[in-house]
Subunit: 416 residues, 2 copies
């Protein structure tokens, strides 16, 4: 279709996606079941390819954490197949009618969900994401072009082959899912510039990766990820609630984006709550960095620096600051938040209302752990990522965030 | 607020927008009424400023068409004030709840419309757009940073002053609306790079302007505009309906984006309809460019070239082509359409259904003039533009397309 092997790959995905757009939910679900069965039936083949990636990863000095994320074994592959089957259970967003009306002249208009076309994804050395994104794209009627990184090239290649075979096996077009790993860094760059071939690009991974994609891409991007997440303990906060929420938000899973990074405490609650909050966190192994007032009220904290408030630790570390008022808390959040999730712990109705109204983040909470910002917890059943941008999608993204809309207009000869 | 006068302007808009986000509809409507009254009460001041722009425009050799678009007189200013009052009548999108649920653990989640923050607009020498965008941004709780072009600098400056005075006069922050015209081309470039200051950028104008913004901008863009719009007359088309729709779609207002540019006729309708279609269009002064088969069936057509199908004429010109089938019509549209609006004229139910399902454009019509792709016609009451992209907004954009959403989460101490 094109003499350029890279564009040929993209053209195939686009052509296949065009046909996939009108596939029924039953056809797409059959393809998903075939993908799940294909993965379960090819464990040795995937594990062998994965071993090649792991060997190369060890030679090139990948950290243990990265090697762990790269690893696929039998149990993880069965987990991946289960995740694909969960996508089958989700409602098909395509064809949903969002709104409509009959105009005064008798014309009927309706706005209906349609697939984007081709979804691009750029991520790093996590072959499970290959299957996740392919399944979500397929269910929402989209083609997918995947750039999963050279470190996972062999694993991704075999997984994409299995996916293509499964899709073709049920009579749809297997070209809908493509990998461009073998084109290396140039492939990633070209993917970001592939306007007309790729309709939306989703980067998943480090802040650096996401920032590069946002800066370089001419394809529309949905930015996901980084969370400098704040919990504000208001003057009226219930002690047990505050301690439980702060502990959970910080320590339940510190490496993820909805984990809290900064604790703000109202001065009128500081005497009462800071010592207990600090002790609870320190006992759980959290390194705390406090401003002067905080360190005057609790033991065991290191001094906070400006960088404390600007850092997504993704680890058992937390900045702690005493503020004079709700306004000062709001100003701190406005300045340092990445607009992912913020929570207030309060018993004061008006302060809860103000916090909900004035904090400009994807998710704003009262008296709940920030860990609830999650597609699964929100009942979306599958998570494409958590959007921290304002255009198109904000917060946890489910299948419907992988769709666009179009207007259908049915007339009987009307003219203006 | 910043030593950089350009960034200072943007920071002021951002700060003011933050406060505007929680303004009530009553406050915003009062500001809009003050703007309308301010324009009506300052006709001589605006006309005097506009005269300076017109003089400079004539000296620099602007075409009559551009000079006409640049002109503000008493009647046009009253029209602008009326348009602002129409925005008052529209419902406030901010605070609308889109969906929500109570999770199994008792947490209540709701997705609510919020303003973007600051909307940027880049357009050329049309001072009426200054008032339009400012009014729509204000009603949807957004600040606005406007780059309206050096050719309209004096007119825009006075209009923005009037708008700022009106907003301040009702107790809101007049800094919410800013112009950056005096920063020239560099201002436009910097506006496209103002991530963190501007939340979404809307280019309005020529295809060249829009393309530049899409290529250069790191701020998320909503692409508007260009329409290579097709009408397909199917084999079963009713003759009167086909002639009325084609004539209306091409000639009602040829300079706008929803005007038809290409006529496709099924070969089984060509003998019956092409001579009458061609005569009707030629009689209305439309220059027709036909493929060989078309020119064999109707007189007065020039030969079409490849460029015929790739051109948005925006004038009384039209390409005409005979196709063998619905599939060939769909393939032509897939290849040449800018995905704005396409229409089929048919009496065949199945072909109507296929056309609606398979054409991937913002608006797809059966038996209606493409001129109906319009915010006013769709009942949106005001039009921000017509989006031809798939992300966030597609087709005619009303006030709600100038909003984002956030999730409000109300708990009672839940943790994971």
């Amino acid at each position: 279709m094109s003499n350029d092997p890279f564009l040929d790959r993209l053209s195939r995905a686009r052509e296949a996606a065009r046909r996939l757009a009108t596939a029924t939910a039953a056809q797409k679900n059959a393809a998903l079941e075939a993908i799940a069965a294909g993965i379960e039936g090819s464990v040795p083949r995937v594990v062998a390819a994965n071993r090649l990636d792991l060997e190369r990863g060890r030679e090139s000095g990948l950290t243990e954490g990265l090697l762990d994320r790269l690893t696929l074994d039998e149990s993880r592959l069965h987990g991946l197949a289960s995740a694909v089957r969960e996508v089958i259970a989700l409602p098909d967003p395509v064809g949903q009618i969002l709104r409509g009306s009959t105009l005064a002249n008798g014309i009927q208009i309706s706005q209906v969900r349609v697939p984007f076309g081709v979804v691009g994804a750029i991520y790093e050395a996590r072959p499970n994401v290959t299957v996740d994104i392919a399944a979500l794209a397929l269910k929402s009627g989209n083609g997918a072009v995947l750039r999963g990184g050279t470190a996972a090239e062999q694993s991704n290649r075999v997984l994409v082959e299995l996916i293509q075979e499964a899709i073709s096996g049920v009579g749809l077009d297997g070209d809908a899912v493509q990998t461009v790993d073998e084109f290396g860094r140039e492939g990633a760059t070209r993917l970001m510039r592939a306007r007309g071939y790729v309709d939306v690009l989703i980067p998943r991974g480090s802040a650096g990766l996401i920032s590069t994609v946002v800066q370089e891409s001419t394809v529309p991007v949905i930015e996901t990820g980084s969370g400098i997440v704040h919990v504000f303990v208001d003057a009226s906060a219930d002690a047990d609630t505050a301690v439980a929420i702060v502990e959970n938000a910080k320590t339940h899973r510190p490496s993820v984006c909805n984990a809290a990074e900064t604790l703000l405490v109202h001065r009128d609650a500081a005497d009462r709550l800071l010592p207990r909050l600090a002790k609870t966190l320190l006992d759980r192994g959290v390194a705390l960095y406090g401003d002067e007032r905080t360190r005057g009220l609790a033991d065991g904290l290191s001094p906070a620096e400006e960088s404390t408030w600007e850092t997504e630790h993704l680890a058992l570390e937390m900045g702690v600051r005493v503020v004079d008022s709700l306004d000062e808390a709001l100003a701190h959040i406005e300045r340092y938040s990445t607009r992912h999730t913020e929570a207030i712990v309060t018993e004061d109705y008006e302060n809860a209302q103000r916090f909900l109204a004035e904090v400009d983040s994807a998710v704003v909470m009262v008296n709940a752990s920030t860990r609830f910002t999650d597609g699964g917890e929100f009942g979306f059943g599958a998570e494409v990522g958590i959007s921290t941008q304002k255009l198109h999608a904000r917060g946890p993204m489910g299948l419907q965030e992988l769709t666009s809309t179009k207007w259908l207009v049915r007339g009987s000869g009307q003219i203006r």
